[in-house]
Amino acid sequence: MHSGKFISIKTLCKIHKVEESFVYTLHEYDILELRQEREETWLHEDTLPLLEKMVRLNRDLNINPEGLQAVHVLLQRVHGLQQELLTVKRKLDALDMYF
């Protein structure tokens, strides 16, 4: 379970001028994790940058939810590979010195 702050979807959509249905669609496509409590839906503050990224991609590039889901999965893979590459590079550097 998450700790930290949660933002009400209603408030968030009002501030960011985003349709609530868009946020729920992202949730249906497993892009965003939402939480139901006290008859409201909430988004964890750590997930906010992801939502903003999806809004930008939707608005700037006209990418539909199906496309956003594909982009999300691929970006996660890119991120994982970049981290792996960094770790491998560091290990190689260490081995260069050690041997």
Partner: protein
């Protein structure tokens, strides 16, 4: 300040239609959008150029001015000055969110068109959080051996940071709310600081472990002895076992690098012994080795 050929940036000719510009812009934006190219500075730069080109060419008024004065931008500046009084009276154009720091335009653009209007101008105004800032902080390995405070200046703002011991090279931390101001009343962006750790020691670091090769004299390797070894927090006395072989590895538990955000916990120091074979001998040493040889050693 260099002239920028916006048509060339978008891969178009001067007689391109509005629909050609839109189509080509969308195509290139999809390719170079910063959200689709994480940690790619080149793509971000390219996206900014595309964005700027579209900002000018998709606006009939700006395009007309660019076509008329583009190559002679200095004259365009004069043209602007002449119109500045009229322009000041007009209400400013809406600023729409661009995302990921894409709204900073070239000097050429600023000279020709004055203040920026942002990506996607003409579409709905959006209230959004400010852009995130990225900064790089260069520290030495000994700096990050202990938790310490440091003041950095980002965009004329002093920020006092506590840098925890054990920060890794390339690690990024987020400082909430220290990015660009929010747009249309939105919240401010965040500041991301990436650490660049320069190794100023004789140790090699891999995560929390440190590595070092130390040379031990041949006699100490054969007969055993004690040596003093430098660690990052002082010297330690180490017993060399008699008959220590070359490339023997020794692990000194807890003498490595501090674990990030785990106070009092350290990695290990891994030593690699390199037995120092003498290359020059005194006459006396030579005689002693000859005597050893006779013992079939």
């Amino acid at each position: 300040m260099e002239f920028i050929d916006y048509y060339k940036v978008l891969g178009l000719t001067k007689n391109a239609s509005v629909s050609d510009i839109k189509k080509q812009y969308r195509k290139l934006a999809r390719k170079y959008h910063p959200d689709l190219n994480p940690n790619d500075a080149e793509a971000e730069k390219k996206f900014k150029q595309i964005n700027e080109a579209n900002e000018v060419l998709s606006d009939p008024e700006k395009r007309k001015k660019y076509d008329q004065y583009g190559k002679d931008w200095q004259q365009a500046e004069e043209f602007e000055k002449a119109r500045s009084a009229r322009r000041r009276q007009r209400s400013s154009e809406g600023y729409t969110y661009s995302g990921g720091g894409t709204a900073d335009f070239s000097d050429f653009f600023e000279a020709m068109f004055g203040g920026q209007t942002g990506f996607g101008s003409g579409r709905q105004q959006v209230q959004f959080r400010g852009q995130d800032y990225n900064a790089k902080l260069r520290l030495s390995l000994t700096d990050v051996y202990t938790t310490h405070k440091r003041t950095i200046t980002v965009n004329d703002k002093n920020i006092r940071l506590t840098i925890p011991a054990g920060v890794e090279d390339g690690q990024t931390i987020k400082i909430k709310g220290y990015g660009g101001p929010g747009i249309q009343g939105g919240p401010p962006g965040d500041l991301y600081i990436t650490f660049s750790i320069v190794n100023n020691t004789a140790f090699k670091r891999d995560g929390v472990n440190l590595y070092k090769t130390i040379q031990i004299p041949l006699t100490k390797a054969v007969l055993g002895d004690t040596v003093f070894v430098d660690t990052l927090n002082g010297k330690v006395k180490l017993k060399i076992q008699a008959g220590t072989k070359n490339s023997t590895r020794v692990r000194l538990k807890g003498k490595g690098f501090p674990k990030y955000k785990k106070e009092g916990e350290f990695g290990d120091l891994l030593l690699n012994y390199e037995v120092d074979i003498p290359t020059t001998l005194t006459e006396e040493q030579k005689q002693l080795f000859e005597a050893l040889r006779k013992t079939n050693l």
